[in-house]
């Protein structure tokens, strides 16, 4: 519930650390673990100030032992604490995925609900800043495919705080992805639209609900994280230049996916472009399109998706920017959709 009023523009990084601090204040069971999340305040700024405020009993700078400390978080969560643990880049999931998908995600199920796993795994996603193929991946679908965890990604600071609160309070493992290009770290550049008003009281953004970032009637643009901003930019251009009103859906929760909100919009508009920056095949964009097709919604033109192609993410900006989904690609796809008949 939103109990605050003053307007406070914040970055996602700040909103995350604020949510963490407020939950740590409220609940002594919340502890934070990860690499460089203490003294450094998190490579991506999302744990800034926590060590100073809560001390080394609650904020643990860990060795580079992701399997060990994420596994430990599962045990802490099973014992009734609420660990928030950071995997610095989602790209590193390969060294610790068992602890995530075979332990955290299945603890409730294997125990028949006796032992829950209220932990949050924060992890950075996304490229666009030249960090190459082991530091720029999104892996939305990798996590969205595997049952037992909830997966969220905010597109702006308001949602970041509300989703973080909801994630910490959830009885289940929540993977909290944050996109580097939205994080508000000056050294990474930041999409302006991600910096929003963040009420200073406690409020939750519900996990499992997509948002309507812009209402429209003519075409549905579906995105998440940074691609919401590509969709919004494309929608602006469509409105300005084509007289077309696009509805923009912010997926916000990758799992469980809120198909209803998406389907309702597509039923209304009859046209859809889905944009994500993860790899294409077996991706989230494909899942959205498959869900629309299964539902048998009549479309005025074939559904389209824009994703990172099925290639490793290249380093050179000349290559990376050519393949990374952006607003222009979104606009072009939307225009094609509008121009076509199914």
């Amino acid at each position: 519930m939103n109990t605050a009023t003053a307007i406070r523009k914040q970055t996602i990084a700040k909103a995350m650390s604020e949510a963490l601090a407020s939950e740590m204040e409220r609940d002594p069971g919340v502890v934070v673990l990860g690499e460089d999340i203490g003294k450094l305040g998190g490579v991506f700024g999302n744990t800034g100030g926590l060590l100073e405020r809560f001390g080394t009993e609650r904020v643990f700078d860990t060795p580079i032992s992701e399997t060990g400390f994420i596994g430990a978080a599962v045990g802490m969560a099973g014992a009734g604490m609420r660990p928030v643990v950071e995997l610095m880049f989602v790209d590193f999931f390969g060294v610790c995925m068992d602890a995530i998908y075979n332990l955290a995600a299945k603890q409730a199920y294997f125990s028949g609900g006796q032992v829950s796993c209220p932990m949050v795994l924060m992890t950075s996603v996304g490229g666009g800043y030249g960090d190459a193929g082991q530091h720029s991946q999104c892996l939305y679908a990798t996590f969205g495919h595997l049952p037992g965890m909830k997966v969220v990604i905010p597109s702006n600071a308001h949602d970041a705080k509300g989703l973080m609160l909801a994630a910490i309070r959830d009885e289940n493992p929540v993977v909290f992805m944050f996109h580097k290009a939205l994080q508000g770290m000056g050294w990474l550049g930041t999409v302006a639209g991600s910096i929003t008003d963040v009420p200073d009281g406690e409020y939750e953004v519900p996990i499992g609900k997509a948002g309507v970032a812009r209402e429209g009637t003519d075409i549905t643009l579906v995105g998440l994280g940074i691609t919401v901003h590509h969709c919004l930019a494309a929608a602006d251009a469509l409105s300005r230049e084509d007289g077309v009103e696009a509805e923009v859906i912010d997926i916000r929760t990758i799992a469980p996916l809120d198909r209803e909100t998406i389907l309702a919009s597509v039923r209304k508009t009859g046209r859809v472009v889905v944009v994500d920056d993860d790899y294409l095949s077996c991706g989230l964009a494909g899942e959205v399109i498959a869900s629309i097709a299964e539902a048998g919604i009549p479309l005025a033109s074939p559904p389209q998706r824009i994703s990172h192609p099925d290639i490793p993410i290249p380093f050179s900006p000349a290559l990376e920017h050519a393949v990374l989904p952006n607003a222009e690609m979104t606009l072009a796809a939307a225009r094609q959709s509008i121009g076509e008949r199914a």
Binding site: V31, E57, F60, T62, P63, S65, E66, T67, G68, F69, I70, G71, A72, A73, V74, G75, M76, A77, G78, A79, G80, M81, P83, V95, D98, A99, N102, L103, K106, Q107, A108, Y109, F110, S111, G112, G113, Q114, V115, S116, P147, G148, K150, R169, D170, E171, N172
Partner: protein
Amino acid sequence: MSKTNQPHRLWMYENMVKSRAFEDAIKPAYLEGKTPRFNMARGPIPGEMHLSDGQEPCAVGVCAHLRESDTVTATHRPHHAAIAKGVDLDRMAAEIFGRDTGLSGGRGGHMHLFDASVNFACSGIIAQGMGPALGAAMAAKLRGSDAVAVAYIGEGAANQGAFHEVMNLASVWGAPLVIVIEDNGYGVSVSKASCTAVSRNADRAAAYAMPGIHIAGNDPDAIYDAAGEAIARARRGEGPSLIEIETSRLEGHFMGDQEAYRPEGEKDRLKAMDPIPRYRERLLADGIDAAELDACEKHAQQAVETAFAFARGSALPDPASAFTSVFVERTTA
């Protein structure tokens, strides 16, 4: 073994016998429907079945020191440890039979036994139970309780990355954790000697600045003593220990294993050293009444019979329950 531990010796004996009786009851039940040609998919208990025959001393010698509030994480071979930790035997049997009344309503099965009331959990992925045990230990420490956690692993698991990471973290954090290696000489068909750079995994504890204790003889009393010290140390807040126990697996890796990888005669030699009759003899030699031991055996046998009757008498779960407990509802806000 001090005199004051006499009751523990009987407890250990009874729990070893109970574990063996449990598995002796599992064997025919598991084979139901799987003959004439062995087919793991069939019968009332499908899937892999890893028996702990011969490894009972590792369970009782350690768990004799544990309280309900202490945590144990076990492996794919969990029955003996579960029993020694006090997991509800009826619901455990029902879980293994995939019944509605099972610990997890049949969702987990033999490799995923969880009993929250005694803080017992399993993982079927090698060495992966260590992380959660460390976490449970840290939860106790952070809350100022003197509870401890014990992570059981096999000697094969000591070559898995998770072992290294958790050993180091436990040491750096001073966690009240005891890692117990049940060294039965094999990981499936691969001998320890052929795949481990050192002959004693206990020696690896030095790489983490923690005590490493090696125990030969598969002897409940020796294990009891060493584990008692390690657990007391952990309770005192002095940090983790590694205990390596030489034990023996008297059956195949799983039921159906042909065991052709064993040297000629090994199995007979191991069976001749079965720790349970040996312990019975020792207790008798130490003056314990045969009647007391007989009573232990009878209790154990009865508990197992009750458990199997409970399991077999329970219904299979409603298919709809496959969809519940994937997520747990929030209880507080």
